[in-house]
């Protein structure tokens, strides 16, 4: 039964990724590429939050700091002349290092205190960058001349596919099981022999690594932005929103959530103008009230 369900999930994911990859072949234009890129970016970022919040039950609101440091490092190394994949991996590891330095001490905090502590980390990072780097990060003319949004989208698609695959593996591993145990009851998990602190650290490392990857892709796609933009708090709150819309602690949920958040929200914004903010807010409240397991919960009902 489980094997059949797994095959079904894999099939859905593979078909979805292939479908998204085929769209630019039939619908041309920068706008479509931009939307699909954002879909991939938000899928990776929301999965990075999902690992920590959805699977392990640790509400991390510091994701913006890890996303931002990933963007900053990737851009710096890439602009310095290194190949983009090298810069991207380096950016992800920089997030991981930040997690070791700042994130791990916050793991001493529990429940709401952990959420507030990590939010504090994000705010400190934002204010530090605003003061230390007040300028605009422009892509140099040499990199701008061969700017190709298609290549950027497919790069993001590959990274998103790898992220989803990694989350799928985590979901079906002993690690995933331990994370879910910690989420459901930390004391009980500890009593059954799970090293809670160790698993929390591993989860934080994985989560921040993927947040750094998403940040690196942001730095790859956007031509110019204020240095502090990838550190803004929306990068902490948006993934939470997406995961709750799609379904926390699932492999497919963040993908569905990102689809709604990026594509539906854009359709609302273009067709309804300013009212879209209100409508999307109401839709989100209704989902939280009536579908606590997210949109993926409809199927289970």
């Amino acid at each position: 039964m489980k094997a059949r369900r797994d095959i079904k999930t894999i099939l859905i994911l593979v078909i979805s990724i292939v479908f998204v990859g085929l769209i630019p072949l039939f619908i041309k234009g920068e706008y479509v590429l931009n939307m699909l890129f954002l879909l991939c970016l938000y899928t990776i970022l929301s999965h990075s939050w999902n690992i920590m919040g959805g699977y392990c039950g640790q509400i991390n609101l510091g994701q913006a700091a890890f996303f931002g440091i990933g963007a900053l490092t990737t851009r710096y190394i890439w602009v310095a002349g290194y190949p983009f994949p090298v810069a991207l991996i380096a950016g992800s590891f920089s997030s991981l290092i930040l997690a070791c330095l700042i994130g791990i001490p916050t793991l001493r905090l529990r429940a709401h205190y952990f959420a507030i502590g990590t939010l504090g980390v994000a705010m400190i990072a934002l204010i530090t960058i605003q003061n230390a780097l007040p300028g605009v990060d422009f892509l140099p003319a040499s990199l701008m001349s061969d700017y190709n949004p298609t290549i950027r989208f497919y790069t993001a698609l590959i990274v998103a596919a790898l992220t989803i695959f990694a989350v799928y593996c985590i979901n079906n591993s002993r690690l995933g099981l331990a994370m879910k145990c910690i989420r459901d009851d930390e004391e009980a998990a500890s009593a059954t022999g799970i090293n809670v602190v160790r698993y929390k650290i591993i989860t934080l490392m994985l989560s921040t690594f993927f947040a750094g990857l998403a940040g690196g892709l942001f730095a790859y796609y956007y031509v110019s932005y204020y240095y502090y933009v990838p550190f803004e708090l929306m990068w902490s709150f948006d993934p939470v929103l997406i995961v709750f819309i799609g379904g926390a602690g699932t492999v497919v949920g963040p993908l569905i959530g990102a689809l709604c958040y990026v594509i539906l929200k854009e359709i609302f914004a273009i067709s309804m103008g300013q009212v879209n903010v209100l409508i999307f807010g109401v839709v989100f409240i209704l989902i939280v009230l009536f579908l606590p397991k997210g949109l993926i919960g409809i199927k289970k009902r």
């Binding site: 041309k28 234009g29 920068e30 706008y31 479509v32 590429l33 931009n34 939307m35 954002l38 934002l126 204010i127 605003q130 003061n131 007040p134 300028g135 605009v136 422009f138 892509l139 003319a141 701008m144 700017y147 956007y222 031509v223 110019s224 932005y225 204020y226 502090y228 933009v229 929306m234 854009e266 914004a269 273009i270 103008g273 300013q274 903010v277």
Partner: protein, 410 residues
């Protein structure tokens, strides 16, 4: 006879050939004119920059109405006037959405040019979209000079730049008679490229003109408490203040100055007090505050009276018009003029025409430097009993500068 017939045949053949050529040249080679000239803009209509975005929106809409009431812009390649169609989208004050929606305007709506949004944060995203997509971008309310030193080709900013704004501040200090003239400057430096740039000019000009910067305090772009900065300025005895806060910050600064009883003779907050809504939010506390004045409703340039009349017809309760309204109106005039001179809807031709702009807009003559920054007249406006009065430059001033008294005497 035979010769005549042959000659006639040849003539007939030649005539038919010419008629056919004319027919094909008009039917095959002439282009069908589009119904409208599509111009795109992404403006913050919601979110933290919405108050400024709304002024920009009004300026664009009134300008386009005026142009379209006269039949639109003359496009030579189609041999007739075409109305302007403005496609305006909201970016919710989020630069990620600015980029996405400008890409939509480019690839889906096929706009021929962009008009700018509001605030440097969002305009920086807009500029890169213009350069990336090779769509001419005419900005409104962009004052930072740094981005224009990068060799961009499609970016134009008909606005007063950082150096103009700081120079206007010192010009107005110079105009105050000596016994009353402030000499000690307080500078609150926003940690944005614009804020840092203005800070550099504040220090440079102070040295050249014999002023002393007694306090030079930095603050983050998201800061919402300025009490420590204000107390530092007060204790240093600063009698003139300069800063470039965001619109909400400009309100907090003035309220906290009142609470802490700090009343410098001259307070210049370039951004925030220049908006239509500032008096509504601040009431009499807005009095004596100076802000950017590169446009004013009393200016005698062509069409300015029409703009002012239509604005008050739309918003009869407003007492003054925000600066971005005039700046946005002028941006539309500049773009329409460039399209007419280009005689084409080709983006590169419009860009070339923009670079040679020499036009008198509602805010006066406008030209561009090779880097895309505008050469325009600049000045300062001051809130005086609910009205924004132009107090500098002296030749265009509508009122004299008022020195701010202590808070308990206002």
């Amino acid at each position: 006879m035979e010769k005549d017939r042959s000659f006639r045949k040849r003539g007939l053949f030649l005539g038919v050939f010419i008629v056919l050529m004319l027919f094909f040249s008009t039917s095959l080679f002439a282009q069908t004119a589009p119904k409208t000239v599509k111009i795109g803009t992404v403006v913050p209509l919601t979110g933290r920059m919405a108050s400024g975005g709304k002024d920009v929106k009004v300026g664009y809409e009134i300008a386009i109405k005026h142009i379209n009431d006269n039949g639109g812009v003359m496009v030579k390649e189609f041999g007739r006037k075409l109305p302007i169609e403005l496609i305006m989208l909201d970016d919710e004050s989020d630069p990620v959405k600015t980029t996405a929606r400008l890409d939509k305007l480019y690839s889906v709506d096929k706009v021929v040019a962009y008009l700018g949004g509001y605030s440097s944060l969002l305009n920086v995203a807009g500029m890169s979209a213009g350069e990336k997509n090779k769509v001419p971008w005419v900005g409104v309310t962009i004052a930072v000079e740094g981005p224009f030193k990068r060799g961009f080709k499609y970016i134009f900013a008909p606005f007063s730049m950082s150096s103009d704004q700081v120079r206007a501040f010192y010009d107005i200090l110079d105009s105050i008679p000596k016994p009353d003239r402030p000499t000690k400057i307080a500078h609150f430096e926003e940690q944005s490229d614009w804020g840092v740039e203005c800070g550099r000019y504040i220090r440079e000009f102070a040295k050249k003109r014999g002023y002393t910067v007694v306090t030079d305090q930095k603050y983050a772009t998201a800061a919402n408490d300025f009490s420590s900065l204000i107390l530092a300025a007060k204790s240093a005895g600063a009698d003139a203040l300069f800063s470039v806060p965001s619109p909400p910050q400009s309100m907090v600064i003035v309220r906290q100055m009142k609470q802490l009883d700090y009343a410098p003779k001259v307070t210049t907050l370039i951004r925030g007090p220049d908006l239509t809504t500032y008096w509504d939010a601040m009431g009499a506390d807005a009095n004596y505050i100076l802000s950017d004045g590169n446009w004013h409703e009393t200016m005698k340039y062509p069409n300015n009276d029409k703009l002012v009349k239509d604005f008050y017809a739309l918003f009869p309760k407003e007492k003054s018009i925000g600066l971005p309204v005039g700046a946005a109106y002028a941006a539309v005039q500049i773009l329409a003029d460039a399209i007419e001179r280009a005689g084409s809807l080709d983006r590169d031709k419009i860009r070339d025409a923009l670079s040679t702009t020499n036009l008198v807009t509602v805010r006066g003559p406008v030209k561009f430097r090779p880097d895309g920054t505008g050469i325009i007249s600049y000045g300062l406006r001051q809130w005086q009993n609910g009205k924004l009065e132009l107090v500098s430059p002296p030749e265009a001033a509508t009122a004299k500068l008022l020195i701010a008294p202590p808070w308990n005497k206002r």
